[in-house]
């Protein structure tokens, strides 16, 4: 018994090092086997897209939930990554695998620039700035027909020469896990604490010696790079790109997923994407009503539960522990102290 416990703790220790909890790891493992169990191309595709949106929402959360800037132009960075990779592949014949990385770098570069631009601006104005940059980028993409084929759309080569969705699913699963680990590690470290401090009160953060400039730019760059990376995946998965991918409505989709999942939790975004994206798919028969409900959900979350799903889980957990389930084990104090730090603002 003792030994078994020890092995378990070792594994848990390792997982913790890479920013993951045993439950989280278990969830990813379950996710990985789900397509094998279901043996259903549609489900595989749906899960792949859900994961992609979840990953996008995570990179949104990384700025929105930490330094408190809603990157309202996220879809444009996503699109920039996709377009860069696609154009390299189509015009220069560069392999999409390299293209995706270059796309991520391009998005990172623009993110870096936007980070500098938004440096001085307060919350909503920084959002507007990212939004305007995104709109400008979309206008350029539409008008630079020689390069992007404009709105007729750019036909892109596929990443993997296969008809099955399964390889794509595993690719995006690996990407998502990678992004999750990176974001968790960053936000759990001292950098994450600095982010939170900046997000809550920039002046106080500056007064306590945090280099706001450095952290803000780093945050924007990383978040945009990840969005660009996911964009590259999208471009070579769907096979066609139109400037519409940069449309604000895609940002809003990521935003809604992030907020329903719970701002500032990172993991909430994945869970909520895995629920929301399939739910929207299955409500397709309801036509417009489905989008009305979508809007209503956003409003309800903002009004009554700003902490979102992750907050709900924390509360649920606290409720259980208060009932004495874990309390009997004498763990209560510790739990309380940590449980609230993740979601409360």
């Amino acid at each position: 018994m003792e030994r078994k416990g020890l092995v378990y703790i070792r594994i848990a220790e390792f997982l913790k090092k890479i920013g993951m909890s045993p439950g989280g790891a278990l969830m990813f493992v379950l996710l990985a086997v789900t397509p094998l169990l279901l043996q259903d191309e549609f489900w595989t595709r749906l899960l792949a897209i859900s994961l992609m949106m979840g990953a996008l929402a995570m990179s949104f959360d990384f700025t929105a939930g930490f330094i408190n800037i809603n990157n309202f132009g996220l879809a444009a960075f996503w699109g920039l990554g996709g377009y860069t990779s696609a154009i390299l592949a189509v015009k220069l014949g560069i392999s999409p695998w390299i293209g995706i990385v270059v796309g991520a770098l391009a998005a990172a570069l623009l993110g870096f620039l936007v980070g500098i631009l938004t440096l001085r601006l307060a919350g909503i104005f920084a959002s507007c700035m990212t939004w305007f940059v995104a709109l400008a980028l979309m206008a350029v993409t539409t008008n630079w027909v020689e390069l992007t084929e404009g709105s007729s759309g750019l036909s892109t080569p596929y990443l993997i020469d296969t008809v099955s969705n399964l390889p794509y699913f595993y690719l995006i699963l690996i990407l998502t896990i990678g992004i999750y680990i990176v974001l968790r590690l960053v936000t759990k470290s001292h950098i994450g604490i600095a982010f939170k401090a900046i997000g809550q009160d920039p002046q106080a953060a500056a007064a306590s010696g945090i280099n706001i400039t450095k952290y803000k730019i780093f945050n924007m760059t990383l978040s945009c790079a990840l969005a660009g990376l996911i964009g590259g995946f999208y471009a070579h998965y769907v096979g066609v790109l139109t400037p519409n991918v940069m449309h604000t409505k895609n940002t809003i989709e990521a935003l809604a997923i992030c907020y329903v999942g719970g701002r500032g939790s990172i993991w909430g975004s994945i869970i909520s994407a895995l629920i929301l994206v399939p739910a929207m798919e299955f409500m397709k028969g309801m036509m417009e009503l489905r989008l009305v409900l979508y809007g209503a959900l956003l409003i309800l979350v903002m009004l009554f539960y700003p902490a979102g799903l992750s907050g709900l889980c924390e509360t649920f957990y606290k409720f259980i522990s208060n009932k004495g389930l874990f309390g009997k084990m004498g763990l209560l104090k510790n739990v309380r102290g940590q449980g609230s730090s993740q979601s409360s603002k």
């Binding site: 789900t34 279901l38 539409t142 027909v145 036909s155 596929y158 519409n244 629920i275 874990f326 510790n334």
Partner: protein, 432 residues
């Protein structure tokens, strides 16, 4: 010990979550499974259309027209019952491909039908090729679809034919109309300058660029090209610019009614002294309520409700769905749906059975070779593919062509081609 506590804490939260998540996933998967029992005597057709989103209007027309066509045969071909599955593209390439894949995997559709946007066609072509599902008569018409087909014809032939040819095959009619009028002395233009405009999307750019080239080939000078954002309703600056260029013809296309009607009205307000070609003014039924008499003398190329059958369809549609269908969306869709029915019937007669493989065979042997045509259309005379034109339809006066028309008081008068002509090209007094 402290670490142990953390472990338990995290595990508690995430375990609950993952159990809930997986349970819900499996539950949803289970629910979907119910539809899996395929009935041998039911043919399921997946109809792609923009049923929600910015082009929902077209989607509504698709739905109505397709239903009307299938109602005529009582949703029956031979012993087979026809079932339509609506696949909402939401005007988005990825969402459409996903919905299409869902229809194939979950609803087990036997074949596909229709589509409006070219980019949706491109992403769905891949899915059709993957599952070897024959997809008939998607309207998405621009070059990008042809390019994709030509990149690997053996793979993409499952995308059986486009219901709309590449724009330049149709637009040449405008140049011919004007040239004919000039030759006959019906019009003496003060110069041979033309300004080109187009809505800033695949359709507008493709069409207007092609039209400009065709004007140049006919000896005209293209003085200016203007691209207009989708939904733009403010044209004073552009029109002032065009006016100052003093061109004889302003030609182009816009696809959304607010833009088109504003463009027409404002061109009159500004006092544009040129012939105006606006491809797509009549695309939605209510255009005249929006433009009023500002649309007089405007030239368009659009299928007309000319034949009694066509008029009847338009009236029936309006009676049933409460709005007037556009000839090139609702009307064309109606024809293509009946062409689709003919394909099904032929398949049934030839093989005494309908299924996916047999439809592929029919597509390859009958439709693509030009044997199986549809001559009963309300919009144009004959729908036919040939190996040379595939994936486009044959476009000429005896097959698929839209008449060039000129509007007067909300009525369209056909001015080209000769066989259908109702009157000659009319020139406003101020331009004579």
């Amino acid at each position: 010990m402290k670490m142990m506590r953390n472990v338990i804490r995290n595990r508690g939260v995430t375990l609950i979550l993952s159990v809930v998540l997986i349970a819900s996933l499996l539950m949803m998967g289970g629910c979907g499974d119910k539809g899996k029992e395929a009935d041998d005597n039911v043919i399921k057709i997946g109809v792609i259309g923009p049923f929600t989103g910015p082009a929902a209007r077209v989607g509504e027309e698709f739905k109505g027209a397709t239903q009307m066509a299938f109602e005529q045969v009582g949703y029956k071909v031979g012993d087979y019952k026809i079932e339509l599955k609506w696949i909402d593209s939401e005007s988005d390439a990825e969402k459409a491909a996903r919905a299409y894949e869902q229809a194939i995997v979950k609803d087990k559709i036997d074949c596909g039908f229709l589509d409006w946007h070219s980019w949706v066609s491109v992403s769905c072509m891949e899915v059709a090729a993957k599952y070897k599902i024959p997809h008939f008569f998607a309207i998405g018409g621009t070059e990008i679809v042809n390019e994709k087909y030509e990149s690997d014809p053996d793979k993409y032939f499952y995308w059986v034919g486009k219901g709309w040819p590449v724009p330049e095959k149709l637009s040449i009619a405008y140049v011919e109309t004007l040239e004919e009028a000039i030759d006959k002395g019906a019009w003496k233009p003060r110069n041979k300058k033309v300004a080109i405009y187009g809505v800033d999307n695949d359709w507008g750019r493709g069409f207007a660029t092609a039209l400009g080239d065709q004007f140049e080939d006919a000896g005209w000078q293209v003085a200016d090209k203007e691209w207009v954002a989708l939904g733009e309703t403010e044209f004073y600056p552009m029109l002032k610019k065009l006016k100052s260029l003093d061109v004889s013809v302003i030609a182009g296309t816009m696809s959304d009614p607010p833009s088109v009607s504003s463009f027409i009205k404002q061109s009159r307000e500004i006092g544009i002294n040129s012939l105006i070609i606006t491809d797509g003014l009549g695309w939605v039924g209510e255009w005249y309520e929006l433009t009023g008499d500002a649309s007089n003398f405007v030239i368009d190329q659009i299928p007309q409700w000319t034949t009694p059958e066509a008029k009847k369809f338009s009236e029936d549609f309006k009676a049933k769905y409460g709005f007037e269908p556009g000839a090139s969306s609702g009307g064309l869709c109606y024809d293509l749906a009946r062409y689709m029915i003919k394909v099904l019937q032929t398949c049934n007669e030839k093989y005494d059975a309908i299924d996916r493989e047999k439809l592929v065979k029919i597509a390859k042997e009958e439709v693509m070779t030009g044997k199986l045509t549809f001559d009963d259309g309300v919009i144009t005379k004959k729908y036919q593919y040939t190996p040379e034109t595939f994936p486009d339809l044959v476009v000429d006066k005896d097959h698929y062509i839209f008449p060039v028309i000129q509007y007067f008081d909300g009525k369209a008068k056909i001015i080209w081609p000769e066989e259908w002509k109702e009157q000659d090209l009319q020139i406003p007094d101020s331009m004579k």
